[in-house]
Assembly symmetry: C2
Homo-oligomer: 560 residues x 2
Amino acid sequence: MSLSEHDIVLFLSSVAVMLFFSRAIGEFLKKFKQPIVLGEILAGIILGPTIFGVLFPGIMNNFLSYTGAVNIAFQGITLLAVVMLLLVSGLEVDLSLVTRQGKVASLISLMGVLFPFAVGFGVAWFFPNELGISAKENHLIFALFVGTALSITALPVVARTLMDLNIFKTEIGFLIIASAMLNDLVGWIIFSVILAMMKGNSSGLEFSSTMLMLGVFIVVTLFFVRRVFNYILPKFEKITTYPGGILNLILVLGFAGAAFSEWIGVHAIFGAFIVGIAIGDSAHLKEETREIIQQFVTNIFAPLFFVSIGLRVNFIQNFDLGIVLIFIALAFVGKVVGCGLGAYWGGMNKEDSLAIGFGMNSRGAMEIVLGTLAFQAGLIQEKVFVALVIMALVTSLSSAPAMGYFLKRSKKKLNFKDLLRKDLILFSDADTKEVLIKELCDFAASKNKLNKEKVYEEVWKREQQFSTGLANHLAIPHARLKIQSPLVVTAISRGGLDFDSLDGKIAHVITLLLTPETEPELQLKLLADITKNFHLPDTAKELCVSANSDEVISKIKQLS
Amino acid sequence: MSLSEHDIVLFLSSVAVMLFFSRAIGEFLKKFKQPIVLGEILAGIILGPTIFGVLFPGIMNNFLSYTGAVNIAFQGITLLAVVMLLLVSGLEVDLSLVTRQGKVASLISLMGVLFPFAVGFGVAWFFPNELGISAKENHLIFALFVGTALSITALPVVARTLMDLNIFKTEIGFLIIASAMLNDLVGWIIFSVILAMMKGNSSGLEFSSTMLMLGVFIVVTLFFVRRVFNYILPKFEKITTYPGGILNLILVLGFAGAAFSEWIGVHAIFGAFIVGIAIGDSAHLKEETREIIQQFVTNIFAPLFFVSIGLRVNFIQNFDLGIVLIFIALAFVGKVVGCGLGAYWGGMNKEDSLAIGFGMNSRGAMEIVLGTLAFQAGLIQEKVFVALVIMALVTSLSSAPAMGYFLKRSKKKLNFKDLLRKDLILFSDADTKEVLIKELCDFAASKNKLNKEKVYEEVWKREQQFSTGLANHLAIPHARLKIQSPLVVTAISRGGLDFDSLDGKIAHVITLLLTPETEPELQLKLLADITKNFHLPDTAKELCVSANSDEVISKIKQLS
């Protein structure tokens, strides 16, 4: 059997149409700050049996609803797509970050897996019908699946949300990312076990052998392969063509891992994910290499997978409000309470704990991948699949606003010292106020991906109204901007410079304060707090003799 | 029908094995300066029926020799791979370069298509059996195909060869590239016509309609789509996510073009190629965007296609020495004589004409793609296919050494004025000899991808032996390096600087002369030639009042 000319036309034009629609809708939604993956799924729902299938049944029978050879070719592509997608997701996991965040991250992710799992398993065990179990499904496996489905967190969506909120590189951001990583790892392991249980002996291996080999695979990959890869990478790059050699190696390992995990009876994507983690952890892996793989996979292959989800199922016919609402409710309760409690027990305040709970609540693409696999494996029926997809979208979309709300409440207690970061300290030789402010604005803009002209415009406008040079060698240029959280960048001028200060002294410490325009009171509070730290006449001068940013920070933290 | 678990294991592990072997062999051959594509093809021959199939017939029957679903899935992947490969090849074509090179390029590519085509057609027409026609093939179409197969040039291989010889950005380099581009375009158009002729009415369209639509497609894409794309690109990038949006757009257009050309009865890859040309021509297309597509396609997808070639056929069983030798002989005669005559008639000397002829002789990947399509379409039998693949490899591998040989003979006549280029002129404010020489070396290194430390080390070593400051405000620092062709970079110092010159005057024109270490006489000759141009005392000073590099060049060209 082979692809006929007609098949080729169908196949290529479907790929073009799917890519086009997914992007067009995705870019449109992005204007409203929605993730692109939402557009990709909507494109599938629109192009598939739900909408186009009803409006143009004639076209749909010929186009995008494949049978025979085109269907198989398409399965091949979506298989490669989802394997590469999980490989890329694995690349983003940084195990050392998890270790560094230590206890609190472990508590959050442990609670973030256990609690939703328990909630899901319990509800599915006692009320299977309300959750849409079908007669032919195994009760235990169904309950295990629901538990797992609720305990998944989508790392890429979480990362995007943190970036949108400008807190990706803050302590709370690192904590959430680390927890989500660990959470993902544990969640996928549980899911693999369930899939293997369900398949029984169909892969030719006993369940116990599958588990044994799964364990060996995880340990070997994460401990042995990870170190070997990190060790050989620089040598490998020397003897091969860059970036071709390393791109090739990453995909060879990814596909090999995928094939192996499929062979032992666990889904292929799990192997790709674990291999991705092992590879991505290497400090020698260049940003450019990640970029090439990530851009190509997320922009070209992932959309084909996500669009194909909408093509499988009629989302209107299989929409069951009851099941959808139950899944959404369980999802929120499970994650927000679970992760929130973990964070609270880890010593965080109530607002931050809730923010973390909502941050970890995003199910995004990972839940949809999991749902698709479960649906294909016959583990769940259409209605549950639709409910999972909708739950994934609702949890992801609500994450950023809810987090923002609780962080804002928590931020009221923010002070200057909390906002200090080593990479936000700058030693400057500028000898005029204008040059220094320009430097600070450029630096701040580069740190938070802001428009540097805009930042400078606002800060300079304020500066011209009345100089921000205060007493005791301190100046605090400031502005309110369209940002989500305050940003404080500090320049140390060892030589000092004229800042038209109130006491006529030259300025040695110049702190640029950027706050959200919606929060005037936060700006005033921080201005007062920074000034308070410099109430002694020589504090600023003493900072000038610091050797590096670390020393500056530690000196400021000791101020009273 | 769908992919079973066993199919998935087979599919993914084959992809991993194919990528691994193709790369490993490719990187190994690269140490011997052979193109990576050779390794990819050899990997297929080794893994396929030719070697592994004979050594391990048991394994081969289960692995890499697919039937049923895996076969179809694999066809889907290689189809996408070859479509993307031609899209990328199209991106590399720069139509404006062809126009700029004008008459000579047109002569070379016209002769480079017509002459080999005539030779191939004639021989295949009168001696079809010697060329391996099978009884069931149409005599006319076979002769047309052989003509086309001989007239193909592989742009990517040509470009690589020119880079290896360090003449990519010289006039002769541009000329060869421009000719190869035009040649490719014309060759693929002819091949599409032949495929359409052969298919007859199988695509549902009359041959005349196919031709009409093909013409309309080419004209609309190259004139209309090209301009519209170039016009909207900057606006498009503003409203979409970078680089996701543009990556997506390029692939959507590529796949749509491919689907369209397949639909009108011309192979899909032709549409992708033409769309690639239209897109790649845009001055607004960022290098980074090209890079992401190109790296991913050439390193991940193209290998799958090239490996799959070796999997199709037993290269030993189907090796017919007579046919192979005839094809190789015809290929050399056709291209070297055709392009050589074109260049000679265009006014080039004999050595350069022969160099161009051998430069254009590379058939590389393009010939293999063409042969594969013809083989799949039943246009040629295994023996001819094998002969074409071998001919493609032989012509590609012999191209660089042969070109190098004739260029070296031709270079003996090289003088200073021939080596001047606008982008090799530098205006410098350096005020010491050492800084200026460092600047010149860095500049030269960046132009020819040399190691700047190494260049500086050699030049400075020479400079310390005895100053290269000559009379009449001229200095010529120089060194012999491991390069293939001489490089002359000229700095204009309007202020002048002390160079310990023979006549005690300050230096205004400082020309850095780098020549191949194997040709000491060339260095002497060029040193003398440069000095001769500055035999009048004020020539160098007059160059200082030039407004820009263009003016410098035109003034030097007028010197006698």
